[in-house]
């Protein structure tokens, strides 16, 4: 084991420990009984504070950690698969596809488990459409064709979502759809997280176990073909598991942008481009990023801010800083 890997393991351990402490503090942070930390005295002597902690804050924190972990990891996978630092799980219309599937399920009044199924179907369908369309585009290499196909498919799906919003019942359907599209965790309860956790857990385990091969995909095409027997199949497998995880968390959280783009960049800055560390680090950092953003969303002001807005602001600001001051380390070798 070389010294970089050893150092990265120590770094990852330390960051995980820090994340643990930060997450506990964030779970205690809120606006009840007053803006600030919930004290032990509050929890022991105020029944409402205890209920608030157990029934509202803990489920939200679990949901945020899962969401951040999956978006961070899938973003990392997308960036290596496409050897492009400017993509995330929203690329190829995956988020929009999951969103469209979820909205259709909401309108049809399906139970939550079916909503996840519809999100997954929508995400996979958009991925398949993008890949299929890329095959017919007569311009550029595979990556460029996928980018162009992704733009077209995303636009079509976004337009369909807008059309559904336009025609939705303003009293019963529209508020739910609008709120969901902005991303948020205020409606999340623990039972809702069981199925997404299982799907996201399997997705994470598979992707972590393939972290070696993920790193190889960032090399140039000839090197990839000489090191991996069938790079196309590997790419499809990686994308399918990344999409499955994304669909599972999108079903309960709505469309939350930027986490999948910014987290892998931060992971590479801290750990380098070596994927044995970057892949698990994207999970830890993604969780922390989302925990911070959701805590800000629910406690910064008396009003609840949509999570998607907070992640967009935090993500765009961090991204700008990174682009201006720090070199990006994923590129074709």
């Amino acid at each position: 084991m070389n010294s970089t890997v050893k150092t990265n393991r120590v770094k990852l351990f330390l960051i995980t420990c820090i994340a643990g402490v930060v997450i506990i503090a964030l779970t205690l942070w809120g606006r009840y009984p007053k803006p600030g930390l919930l004290t032990l005295n509050d929890i022991l002597h105020d029944e409402l504070a205890l209920r608030m902690f157990i029934l509202i804050r803990v489920p939200r924190m679990v949901a945020a950690l899962l969401l951040g972990a999956v978006l961070g990891l899938s973003g990392c996978v997308f960036q290596y698969v496409f050897a492009n630092p400017l993509v995330d799980s929203g690329f190829l219309g995956v988020s929009q596809g999951a969103g469209l599937g979820s909205i259709i399920a909401m309108l049809a009044g399906f139970p939550f488990t079916l909503q996840i199924g519809c999100a997954f179907a929508g995400a996979l369908l958009s991925l398949a459409l993008s890949i299929l369309l890329a095959k017919y585009i007569r311009f550029g290499g595979l990556i460029l064709r996928l980018v162009l196909a992704g733009i077209a498919v995303s636009s079509v799906l976004s337009a369909l979502i807008s059309l559904i919003k336009f025609t939705a019942d303003p009293l019963r359907q529209l508020p739910e759809i609008t709120y969901w599209l902005m991303g948020g965790l205020s409606g999340v309860r623990l039972p809702m997280l069981v199925l997404p956790s299982i799907i996201a857990g399997i997705s994470c385990l598979v992707l972590i176990s393939l972290r070696w091969q993920i790193g190889l995909l960032a090399l140039d095409d000839r090197a990839v073909r000489s090191l991996i027997k069938n790079p196309f199949v590997l790419r499809i497998v990686l994308l399918a598991f990344a999409v499955a995880g994304t669909a599972a968390v999108t079903a309960y959280a709505g469309i939350v942008a930027w986490a999948g783009l910014i987290v892998p960049h931060i992971a590479r800055i801290v750990f380098g481009a070596e994927t044995r560390s970057t892949v698990p680090a994207s999970i830890v950092l993604g969780s922390m990023f989302m925990a911070v953003c959701d805590t800000l969303a629910r406690s910064l002001f008396p009003i609840e801010l949509p999570l998607g807005i907070v992640t967009a602001l935090a993500g765009a600001a961090s991204f700008t800083v990174l682009l201006v001051f720090i070199p990006i380390k994923v590129e074709r070798g």
């Binding site: 809120g30 606006r31 009840y32 009984p33 409402l48 209920r51 608030m52 029934l55 509202i56 919003k165 336009f166 025609t167 939705a168 019942d169 303003p170 009293l171 019963r172 359907q173 529209l174 508020p175 739910e176 709120y179 948020g184 205020s186 409606g187 309860r189 629910r298 406690s299 002001f301 008396p302 009003i303 609840e304």
Partner: protein, 333 residues
């Protein structure tokens, strides 16, 4: 008076006082909030017994002043959480009951219910919703007699309008909201469409807006509809001024309603009467008078308005003239 009788009266007074004090201390506390709180507040304040029970209420001013301060002096000094306040912010008030529009259930109500709070949801979108929601309020607070009285008032007026002799040729009526950006029509499902049909007009825009909110229409489309009567809404200033602007606009000159001078600003006081607020009944009477003037000569809108504000909010003649009639906008007589 013999001693036994005196003792009996004294004992009765003591017991009665104890029950009164106990009853007062058991008075339930209410928080009104969420979006569209104006409608919720106006219906709750139609129950005089509930006015002092409201301990906090989200902002209710639509820009034309605070109506409920007039009904219940001191109203404005009550805590006013933001309409979009989070679960934790609302929970801090610890009332016995929260009352929201039903659209707030997924984003706000569910979280408060999980914390053990009682939440009443009101639909308040159609006459039938009003009967149902007023009944629910009366039942919840043991004020069935008042609830029945309010419902009977509504039903009496609705029945009067529906039983009016209709004009030989039903007029084509167009309801538009005036904005600096153009004119907009409401969707079919909103109360404005219902009002026109109930009052004996043809809502000419019906079927053109399948969406969930106001939709813009072009001058060309207005020309194609060629309405006999136009009712112009403006939520932020006197609707009569908006009607005058339309009359002067060359883009609309060829429309029948403009040529015959039948363009009216929708009646308003603190709020426009076209909304599903308690005032919708005044809106209905006013529309009937505009559409069907031959058969509504006995209807005096000013008197109807006084009757409404007196019956619903206990406003006497002098307060009505000084504080409400002075706010009248649109084309009221």
């Amino acid at each position: 008076m013999n001693k036994k009788l005196q003792l009996g009266i004294a004992l009765f007074l003591v017991i009665a006082s104890v029950f009164m004090i106990w009853g007062e201390s058991k008075q339930q506390t209410i928080v009104l909030g969420g979006k569209a709180v104006v409608m919720v507040a106006d219906v709750v304040y139609a129950f005089p017994e509930l006015r002092n029970s409201v301990i906090a209420i989200a902002g209710t001013d639509q820009g034309l002043g605070s109506f409920l301060e007039l009904v219940s002096p001191g109203f404005l000094s009550k805590p006013q959480p933001d309409r979009n306040a989070s679960v934790e912010t609302y929970a801090g008030y610890k009332p016995d009951i929260f009352i929201f529009k039903s659209t707030m259930k997924p984003t706000l109500g569910k979280g408060l219910e999980d914390l053990g709070f009682k939440v009443l949801y009101l639909d308040l979108e159609s006459p039938e919703d009003y009967y149902k929601d007023i009944t629910a309020l009366g039942k919840l607070f043991g004020l069935e007699a008042r609830a029945n009285a309010l419902i009977q008032y509504y039903k009496r007026k609705v029945s009067f309008v529906q039983n009016l002799k209709k004009p030989d040729k039903l007029p084509k009526v167009l309801v538009v909201q005036y904005t600096a950006d153009g004119l907009m029509v409401p969707p079919d499902s909103w109360i404005q469409t219902r009002m026109i049909a109930m009052a004996g007009g043809i809502p000419i825009w019906k079927g053109s807006n399948p969406g969930s909110g106001w939709a813009k229409v072009s001058p060309e489309q207005l020309q194609a509809w060629n309405p006999d009567i136009m009712l112009v809404i403006n939520y932020r200033e006197d609707a009569k001024l908006a009607a005058q602007k339309i009359m002067k606009d060359n883009a609309y000159k060829a429309i029948n309603a403009i040529k015959t001078g039948k363009v009216f600003g929708f009646a308003q006081d603190f709020y426009s009467w076209d909304q599903p607020d308690t005032r919708w009944i005044l809106g209905l009477l006013w529309v009937a008078k505009i559409i069907n003037p031959e058969n509504t000569q006995t209807v005096q809108i000013r008197e109807e308005a006084f009757e409404f504000f007196n019956y619903f909010y206990g406003i006497d003649r002098s307060a009505f003239e000084e504080k409400i009639a002075i706010k009248f906008g649109g084309s009221i007589e």
